[in-house]
């Protein structure tokens, strides 16, 4: 798509202002349909803000919250009278609020909030607070300085840190339209954890104040990576953290390869033996006061494990660790206090300690009932209820818009006491007067196109979307639009779609899903489609549909199972291979994750599809979607005799089956095992544990190895099946493939050879080319076994492994030949690293798993060194006449 051209929408500024300022809250709307705004809901279920903010705001709205649309209703009061009324209102409003729980400052949550704030769409309207380089550190082109010019064209925040308790801001962010119905702040479909995180970030000024306290909820740290056991969590840095109510997996997590540590206090009320039980898939453990009570570690299907501990009443520390490697995940943590039933540990028993987030200028405040009662009267007197619902006060209506005089009331040069005073500048006042003084214009019905334009202007849809060449992200904000996981989809993956003729493209019901029911088909796009709520956008689908017109007529192709079969053939590999880029229900595509094909017919209008298939770029300029019917002519002539219309109809018929459709060819890939039959086979690729230049070797004896050609070391040995090549020979073949068989052992990382001053010297860590190693290649013997050739520091090495069985054990017999012009006396080979290495009569036993037998042709003795828990087996390379020979047999 390229960058959108950020031309502003052409709308009447007066009319837009009229709508933004919610004039029709007091002045009943004329017959014309306006977008109808409202102020925040107050009262028990309303927006809870601090008394210090309320006070400052009511005393001087525009000073306390620059850019506010709330007029000053108290402008006619004198200074002291006003202060009294304000105080009464504060007492009234606060008395209606529900008190919030304190949250602890959490830097992990703050970091996640920073990222979410700058990626999910907040900065389309609000000013970014961090430079792009802070948010996308991996992008070398990201600007290192913050573009502060955006501030003037952004919706200001006001004094958030003074205004909100963390919990109250999070509540608002999670569901803004509940608190501000048809307000312009939309929901970005945040879950509780996302909302907590963004609130933490926005309130970052409140951090590090006060003393640690017990706060409700349990803290968690979330990890992702190649996690195969609980110990792996210790090696990883948490990706994010947060606080949640219970010990369960409600926190956002991916399906596989993740782990969580929950930490906090558990409050015990009864003295005696407490039972604990964890059911988990995969492993988990539970510790109380540092002592392991339940060990449910390892990889397994859901299984329950129990343990007991004597506890005294009071707070005890609790730690639960959990991981899930592959497939399904589950975690339930129960306890059984003395004399009680076994039950899930209730949230009320859990807490954590932390520094509470403290609103700025916080002071003790208790609502005085007498003041609150007077406040309630003031609330009615100044007609606050016209904009603010949530109390039992009834609003009074003013004259309808069409009957207003342009220079009176709110618009008068000197605003009378009974009218609220808006902070207009002259231009704004003039444009409003112009609108008001033309009642005929006000009564004139807007065309659907005008209604769309006005809605897009008022809701700032144009901040993200381009329509008819207008709108779209402005340059300074453009770069904040990003993809999730750096998927290779170009701008189509990060910039919200074009809305030009969207009503002709999308079905009305799908537009409704997108606007009102969180409907989304671009999981790769970081920016989320905002939800403005029924009152604001419910009419848009029909308006788009009327305004945009259709793309001709949909050909009527009755559903026909044979047409669907042809469609399936076209969609899969061997046909047009749509699945090369498009995902299909739960199946990944063979390449990039373009929009799920099974959603197409429920979203798109068929007549649009007919045009789009023939020339995608005509409707989506710059799209990477190619056509398979260039100039309307089918490139595939095998299916349906190459008839373009029939082929497109067949694809439609097939996709109409949605998720019920048979999976197209090419997506379900079986195992493609590479088998060493009579001779050795080689597989060079990205192999898990073998590096980016791994050379896998499978031997007919069903022994396998992976040699790391970057580090020049034997990296892995295993038995049984060699490699499954299915994944790496499908689609783009991305990623690392693990060995297929069993009895997998990882050999020492780092350099295999080193010059040591003496046998006590520390083994170096620098390896590969930097460490003086160079890959030379390999030569295959008559059984196609490779002798790896490499050099280290002037020594040429030939490294040939052969395999054989020895009873139930397998043996990999490795012969290393060294040649050099010098006769270095201090060259060592590191054969093993382990927790425990023992010298046995037949060789060296490493961690009870691997026996290493060694033959050194020119003498010299192996050395076991290091402390128990971290030992090494090193072998001297002793040269005679510039040559040395070593045989290392690995038996396992």
């Amino acid at each position: 798509m390229g960058p959108a051209l950020a031309r502003p929408l052409e709308v009447d500024p007066g009319e837009t202002l009229l709508e933004s300022l919610q004039c029709q809250s007091c002045h009943n709307p004329s017959e014309r349909t306006f977008y109808k705004g409202s102020g925040p809901v107050v009262g028990k279920d309303g927006l809870a803000v601090t008394p210090q903010f309320l006070r400052a705001y009511l005393l001087n709205p525009t000073a306390a919250q620059p850019g506010t649309t709330m007029p000053d209703a108290l402008h006619s009061l004198g200074e002291s009278g006003r202060a009294e009324v304000v105080e009464d209102l504060v007492h009234f409003l606060v008395s209606q609020q529900t008190p919030a729980a304190k949250a602890a400052f959490d830097p992990g949550l703050l970091n996640r909030g920073r990222e979410l704030f700058h990626t999910v769409g907040c900065v389309a309207c609000h000013a970014p607070s961090e430079s792009l380089a802070e948010i996308h550190p991996k992008n070398p082109d990201a600007a290192k300085t913050l573009d502060t010019s955006l501030k003037d064209e952004s919706v200001p925040f006001g004094p958030l840190a003074k205004k909100y308790e963390h919990a109250n801001l999070a509540k608002f962010l999670k569901d803004p339209t509940h608190f501000h119905p048809s307000g312009r702040m939309p929901s970005l479909s945040l879950n509780q954890s996302d909302a907590d995180a963004i609130a933490m970030y926005l309130l970052r000024e409140q951090s590090s104040k006060g003393e640690a306290q017990h706060l409700s909820g349990i803290q968690y740290r979330y990890y992702e990576g190649d996690i195969n056991d609980l110990e792996d969590l210790e090696k990883l840095t948490p990706l994010r953290g947060g606080v949640q109510a219970g010990l369960d997996l409600t926190l956002p997590h991916r399906a596989e390869n993740f782990g969580v540590r929950f930490e906090g206090q558990i409050n015990v009320t009864t003295n005696g033996s407490h039972g604990f039980e964890i059911t988990s898939d995969d492993g988990s453990r539970l510790f109380i006061d540092g002592q392991m009570v339940v060990d449910n570690g390892g990889t397994h299907a859901p299984q329950a494990k129990r343990g007991k501990i004597d506890l005294k009443p009071g707070a005890h520390s609790i730690l639960v660790t959990f991981f899930n490697g592959g497939s399904g995940s589950e975690l339930q943590v129960k306890w059984q206090p003395p004399g009680a039933k076994r039950e899930l540990i209730p949230a009320s028993a859990l807490s954590h300690s932390g520094l509470p987030m403290q609103p700025l200028d916080d002071a003790a405040f208790a609502s005085d009932p007498a003041r609150a009662a007077r406040g309630k009267q003031a609330f009615a007197q100044y007609n606050c209820a016209a904009c603010h619902t949530g109390t039992d006060t009834v609003a009074t209506a003013a004259k309808p818009l069409a009957e207003l005089a342009a220079n009176n009331g709110c618009l008068a040069d000197a605003v009378p006491a009974k009218a609220p005073k808006f902070a207009f500048n002259d231009t704004q006042r003039a444009s409003l007067r112009k609108v008001i003084s033309n009642p005929a214009g006000l009564r004139k019905a807007r065309t659907p196109a005008e209604q769309i334009n006005h809605t897009m202007a008022v809701l700032n849809c144009a901040a993200c979307h381009q329509r008819d060449g207008n709108g779209g992200p402005v340059p300074g904000r453009l770069a904040y639009f990003s993809t999730i996981n750096d998927v290779d989809l170009g701008d189509e993956g990060r910039i919200p779609p074009l809305l030009t003729r969207v009503g002709g493209k999308l079905r009305e019901d799908w537009l409704g899903e997108v606007l009102l029911k969180h409907g989304a088909v671009r999981p790769y796009m970081a920016t989320r489609m905002p939800q403005f709520g029924e009152a604001a956008v419910a009419k848009l689908p029909a308006l788009f549909s009327t305004a945009d017109g259709s793309f001709g007529t949909a050909r009527v192709a009755d559903y026909d199972s044979r047409a669907a079969k042809s469609g399936r053939k076209l969609v899969g590999t061997g046909g047009l291979t749509c699945v090369s880029c498009h995902t299909f229900a739960d199946h990944k595509s063979l390449g990039i994750p373009a929009i799920d094909l099974t959603t197409m017919t429920k979203r798109l209008r068929k007549e649009w599809f007919q045009v789009y298939m023939i020339n995608p770029a005509s409707l989506r300029p710059g799209t990477r979607m190619p056509t398979f019917w260039p100039d309307g002519k089918a490139v595939n002539t095998d299916v349906l005799d190459g008839n373009t219309a029939n082929q497109i109809d067949a694809v439609w018929a097939y996709l109409s089956k949605g998720r019920e459709a048979e999976v197209p060819a090419g997506l379900v890939v079986g195992r493609k095992e590479l088998v060493a039959d009579k001779e050795a086979v080689i597989y060079r690729n990205f192999i898990t544990g073998g590096g980016t230049r791994a050379i896998g070797v499978g031997y007919p004896e069903k022994v396998n190895l992976a040699f790391d050609a970057n580090d020049l070391r034997l990296a892995l040995i295993w038995q049984g099946a060699f490699m499954d090549t299915a994944h790496q020979s499908t689609g783009r073949g991305e990623g690392f493939e693990p060995p297929l068989g069993d009895h997998l052992l990882a050999m020492p990382q780092g350099p295999a050879l080193a010059r040591l001053a003496d046998n006590k010297a520390t083994w170096p860590t620098v390896t590969g080319r930097k460490g003086g190693f160079q890959m030379r290649g390999y030569e295959l013997d008559k059984d196609r076994r490779p002798a790896f050739l490499y050099s280290f520091d002037g020594v040429e090495v030939e490294d040939l492994s052969k395999a054989r069985a020895e009873g139930v054990d397998m043996v990999l017999a490795r012969t290393l030949k060294f040649k050099t012009a010098q006769n270095p006396a201090n060259l060592w080979f590191r054969a093993a690293v382990g927790k425990k290495i023992e010298a046995k009569p037949e060789g060296y036993l490493v961690d009870d798993k691997l026996m290493i037998r060694v033959k050194l042709s020119n003498g010299g003795a192996a050395v076991i060194r290091g402390e128990p828990g971290a030992q090494e087996l090193i072998l001297p390379v002793t040269f005679k006449g510039g040559e040395a020979l070593m045989v290392e047999e690995l038996v396992w």
């Binding site: 008819d468 170009g490 030009t500 590999t573 710059g622 260039p630 980016t692 050609a709 030569e779 295959l780």
Partner: protein, 494 residues
């Protein structure tokens, strides 16, 4: 606000007349250039990454899955004589093949390897690492394409970035030369995502680079020592070498290539831009016709594959002020899979290998290996298009109808360029419509001089010639040409 109906008229039919009325292009093209599919044994997945004609007449073909086959009698008319023998296997995505002194060289993702059959059983047994002096991070984008040998015995290697946007390991996004003794010389920076590498008729090295960040459209770019070819993502590796001199200034995102090139002396703009969607979507391998006429009239021109559109396009280069630019023409469509590697033999057979794995292609077959032969019939085509200070010189493959060619209504021309930017691709921008003032046909009737008002430096000049006819009344087989005008020739250099 623009009217929706006006938009629809532009959007749906395009600026130029719809070509849908044309006769079936592929079958018309087949009269002159014939595609024939070669038989591939059922158990072979021949995703041909590279091809190399061997001195003994066999053709070596490497695959994305790491095999190398020796094909016997590849040029035989009798297809039953075409036989596959597996020469090597288990290599890491081989996208470059070259031959020298008894060794077959290949580029794998992580190294240049040479191999030889020592025991004469038809399979290679010795594999030597010639160079691995660059980094690899484990991303599937990290492709490595090597050229044939240059006259000094060097191999030129272009390395794709780590992903679409970054260079995580040394020299990702660079061109390196590997000398006969295995020394690595950093040669050019600014590479994004190559699709092929090779020389033109005089031996200058080029590669195709794909649309993406800093590439508004796919392009054919020259490689030469010291050049920065446009994508700065890998420029941090200047810290590892002095071979190219100082690191170039970073281009300003959102600018235009020809504007930045005036500020950044090392920046070498593409010789040819492939207008996206019009001329393919993924430029790939290419071959030069130095057969002396065995492949038809397009002597010394380049034939460039496109993976997405399953086409071969034609390129004619010229030098203006010592920099390459030139014209791009449609040539042949209708290949069976996504074209990736092209190899032309001295006998004038163009071998085209294709794959659609991971990137869809019009052809529809998961992989294919085809030959393109000239039938001996000369199509009526634009043979060449050269820039002049006041317009263009066109030459044709056949004498033209003077009246039709001199009628300025026979032509349509517009120009545009692309935004030079860090985000992905670019729309066509800065559109202009030059005026064709006059056309003069030469006395032999084989060429025409177009006087054009409004040539635009740094722009693609898209010329359509719907009214042009041969002296026998035939329309052009392909009535479009896309000229990349890096510089307008000066009259005194004419």
């Amino acid at each position: 606000m623009r009217s929706i109906f006006a938009w629809a008229a532009v959007g749906l039919t395009g600026v130029f007349p719809s070509p849908a009325l044309r006769a079936d292009t592929a079958s018309e093209e087949a009269k002159y250039y014939e595609i024939s599919s070669l038989p591939i044994p059922e158990d072979i997945v021949l995703e041909a990454g590279a091809q190399q004609l061997m001195p003994d007449g066999r053709l070596a073909i490497s695959t994305r899955l790491g095999k190398i086959y020796m094909v016997e009698n590849p040029q035989s008319r009798d297809l039953s004589k075409v036989k596959f023998v597996e020469f090597a296997s288990g290599l890491h995505e081989v996208l470059g093949l070259a031959y020298r002194d008894g060794w077959l060289y290949c580029s794998q993702r992580g190294e240049i390897t040479r191999m030889k059959d020592l025991d004469g059983d038809g399979r290679a047994d010795r594999f030597e690492t010639v160079s691995d002096a660059w980094g690899i991070n484990g991303d599937y984008h990290e492709y490595a394409f090597c050229s044939k040998f240059d006259p000094e015995g060097n191999l030129w290697l272009v390395l794709c970035l780590t992903g679409s946007f970054t260079s995580e390991d040394p020299y990702r996004g660079w061109c390196l030369r590997i000398t006969p003794d295995g020394k690595m010389i950093p040669t050019s920076s600014g590479v994004r995502s190559p699709g092929g590498i090779g020389t033109n008729a005089v031996g200058d090295m080029f590669f195709t680079d794909n649309q993406g960040p800093w590439n508004g459209a796919c392009a054919l770019k020259q490689l030469k020592p010291g050049a920065f070819v446009g994508n700065p993502s890998g420029n941090k590796w200047y810290e590892l070498t002095d071979a190219l001199g100082p690191r170039p200034l970073d281009p300003i995102s959102g600018s235009r290539m020809h504007i930045e090139a005036k500020k950044i002396p090392q920046l070498l703009p593409p010789a040819i831009l492939f207008p996206y969607n019009k001329m393919g979507q993924s430029a790939s391998g290419f071959a030069v016709d130095v057969t002396g006429g065995k492949f038809g009239p397009f002597k010394d021109q380049l034939f460039v594959g496109d993976q997405t559109h399953s086409t071969v396009m034609r390129v004619s280069l010229e030098k203006v002020n010592d920099r390459y630019q030139g014209a791009l023409f449609p040539f042949r469509e209708g290949f069976a899979s996504g074209n990736l590697s092209l190899e032309m033999t001295p006998a004038g057979i163009l071998f085209v290998g294709g794959t659609d794995r991971g990137w869809g292609a019009r052809g529809g077959k998961p992989f294919a290996w085809q030959r393109l032969n000239w039938t001996g019939q000369v199509p009526f085509e634009i043979l060449d298009m050269k820039a002049r200070s006041d317009g263009f010189d066109l030459t044709f493959t056949q004498p033209v109808d003077k009246a039709a060619v001199e009628n300025i209504a026979s032509y349509k021309i517009e120009t545009y360029t692309y935004i030079y930017q860090s985000s992905y691709g670019s729309p066509e921008v800065d559109r202009t419509v030059p005026i064709i003032k006059s056309v003069k046909v030469s006395s032999n009737g084989l060429s025409a001089h177009l006087v054009v008002d409004g040539l635009h430096e740094g722009h693609v000049h898209e010329l359509h010639l719907p009214g042009v006819r041969s002296s026998q009344g035939k329309p052009l087989l392909h009535d479009a040409a896309y000229y990349t005008m890096n510089l307008i020739p000066r009259p005194d250099l004419r």
